[in-house]
Each structure stands twice: as C-alpha cells, then as structure tokens.
Symmetry: C2
C-alpha cells in the first residue's frame, strides 16, 4: 500500500488539486487564492500540495495549459461541423477565437489577468498558446491547399503572419474599448483582406 487512500493515484490527486485551484482562480484570481484554501478544499494539509506541484505558480501554469486545451477543443468542435470550404473554416476559426477571448475577458477577468501575467514571465506558456492556436490554423491552411483555395509556400510562416494580424482581437487593452460587434466587423474586413488581398491581379 503506497498511498493512504489507494483509490487515489498521483495523477488523480494532481487533477483534484488543479480542479480546486481552478474554482478559486476563476472567482478570486491568482493573488487572492491561497495554498491553504486549496488544501482545505481538498481536506489535505498545505504542505502536501508541494508533493504534487513545486510551487503556486506551477499550479497556475498547469491550469493555464488546461485552459488552452479546453479552448482548442472547443474550437476544434466548431470546425467539425460540415463547412463548405477552407475559407469558411478560416472565418469560423478566427471568429471563434475572438468570441472565446471576448467571453473569457468578460466572464472571468481574473483568469485573463492571470494568464497574461504568466505569459509575461514564462515563455513556455506563450509558446504553448501560440503552438496550440497555430496547429489548428495550419490544418485549415492545409485543407485550403488541398481544395485549391490557395497556394502557400511556407505554412508555418504564413500561419504566424496571420496570427500576428489577429493580435488586436486577443489583447484585452484593445478589446476593452470596443464592442463585440465592432470587433467582429473589423476582423471580418481583415479576413477578407487576408484571403483576397489588396492587389488586383491580371
């Protein structure tokens, strides 16, 4: 017998900790949830938390990664509906991302602040966020290649360029001053530009 309650694997306990932290982070944010509270919610001692996570920020990081996975799963789901073309997928994806960011910002401002702060200090978090979003975008771009919607030389660079152009639609500072409708309209115009381009070809 390794653990007092053998029903609980290490993996499960980590999940439980994450879940308890999640609830508190959502409501109170990072600073205002304490390790003592998380432990109390789980009926364990504070020091025991450190047997599963090396620090409070590491819990926050794991939580952030979990959020990214949830977000990406949600967007994947949107893209699984039968869509006419890769162009449609691109619109659905970009608007889905905007909606997610907008909702997150308004429903859980504390979470948003927390993740932004983590991004300032941990490049791993930034990378995971970017890579996750990029991999979905690349699937869409590849689909477009197959459908002969467009021809792309460098998928990664093109994907990164497109994501760079979406920064305004995922940055609180810029989102806060506009309604969702305004943001949607502007994003729509931008997507048309990206798809069609400015130049009239001959």
């Amino acid at each position: 017998m390794k653990r007092f309650d053998t029903n609980l694997s290490e993996k499960q306990i980590k999940k439980d900790i994450l879940s308890a932290a999640d609830k508190r982070f959502r409501t109170f944010g990072f600073k205002k949830t304490t390790m003592a509270e998380i432990a109390q919610d789980l009926g364990m001692s504070t020091s025991n938390l450190y047997r599963y996570f090396p620090s409070k920020v590491s819990i926050a990081e794991a939580f952030a990664l979990h959020c990214f996975e949830e977000k990406e799963a949600g967007l994947q789901l949107l893209l699984e509906q039968p869509l006419v073309s890769a162009v449609d997928s691109l619109f659905v994806y970009a608007k889905g991302l905007l909606h997610y960011n907008f909702d997150q910002l308004n429903t859980y401002p504390a979470i948003n602040d927390m993740i932004m702060a983590l991004c300032e200090t941990s490049s791993e978090i930034v990378d995971k966020k970017r890579e996750g979003e990029l991999s979905i975008l690349k699937v869409i771009l590849e689909k477009g290649q197959e459908e002969k919607c467009w021809v792309i030389e460098d998928l990664d660079e093109t994907g990164l360029a497109i994501m760079a152009s979406w920064v305004m639609f995922s940055t609180p500072t810029f989102m806060r001053h506009q309604t969702l409708e305004q943001l949607e309209k502007r994003l729509g115009n931008l997507l048309n530009l990206i798809i069609t381009g400015l130049r009239v070809r001959d």
Copy 2:
C-alpha cells in the same frame, strides 16, 4: 502691457513649458518629473504652470500629441522619396512605423510607458494616434487606386483593418520578446499577405 515680459506670448510660454516637460519626461518619465522641476527649469513658480495647463496630465497629453506629430512628419518624409509604386509606399510606411515604435521603445522607454498609460485613460489620445496614422495610410491606399494597383470600396474600413493587423508591431508586450529582424520578417510576410491575399484567383 499684459504680461510682465511682453516678448513672450501665451503661445510661446506654452511651447516653453512643453519643451521643458519634454526633456524631463524623456529622461525620467511622467512620475519622476515634478511640476516644481518644470517650473524651476523655466524660472517661474509652480502655480504659474496652472495658468497655462490645467494639470500635469494635460501637459503629458499635449506632449503626446506633439510626439505623434513628429512621428507622422518623419514618416511623411520617408514617403516623399520617389517610390516606384503604392505597394512600395505601403512597405516603407509599415516598416517605418515598426522602426519608429521599436526605437522609441528602446531609446525612451519612459516615454513609451507614459503614452501607453495615457491611452488607457484618454480616448482622445487613442483617437489622435489612430487618426494620424490612418490618414497617411489612406493617402497610400488612394495612390494605389489611382495607379490601378488595387480597388478598394471603403478606404476607411480597409485602412482600419490594415492598422488592426499591425497591432503586434506597435505593442511593447509583443515587441519586447522579439528582435527587430524577426519583427521585420513577420511584418514583411503579413504585408505580402495583405497585398497578394491567400486565395488564388481564376
């Protein structure tokens, strides 16, 4: 006789105040320059500053607007060189803007922080910044129309969409984690995308 030293008009005194504030803001930032210091630099009393500006932030705002004018003048100058096409102008403008932002961020970080803070509290500043940059972009887009480079239905909306796509290249948070070379490359890719578009037309 209205003023003790009649050589100085109200306009000139405002300019002098702005110039004195400029020097201090550049070196020490907003918080670490005091009204007393600005007054002392000009040999006047602190309270007299309030006869020309209603508050310290109003001086900062006037200074910010002055910065915008200088920036725009510099960019105009870049565009006055004989350029082959509107496409070239667009590249020169976008890259000029990136260089300006990058230099500003590294040479005068205090100024940059200050203007960002002002943008958070004053929509007038945000508007002026946007309008100034947009008006130059619109000139380029119009030139492109005349040159039959492209056809644009709504100049304003197209201009705003393009500027939205440039947010990453003018936001410190995102610029700080990348070299100028990386930023230039990504901006180049984005501009090509905006000009050429993804879709292969028939």
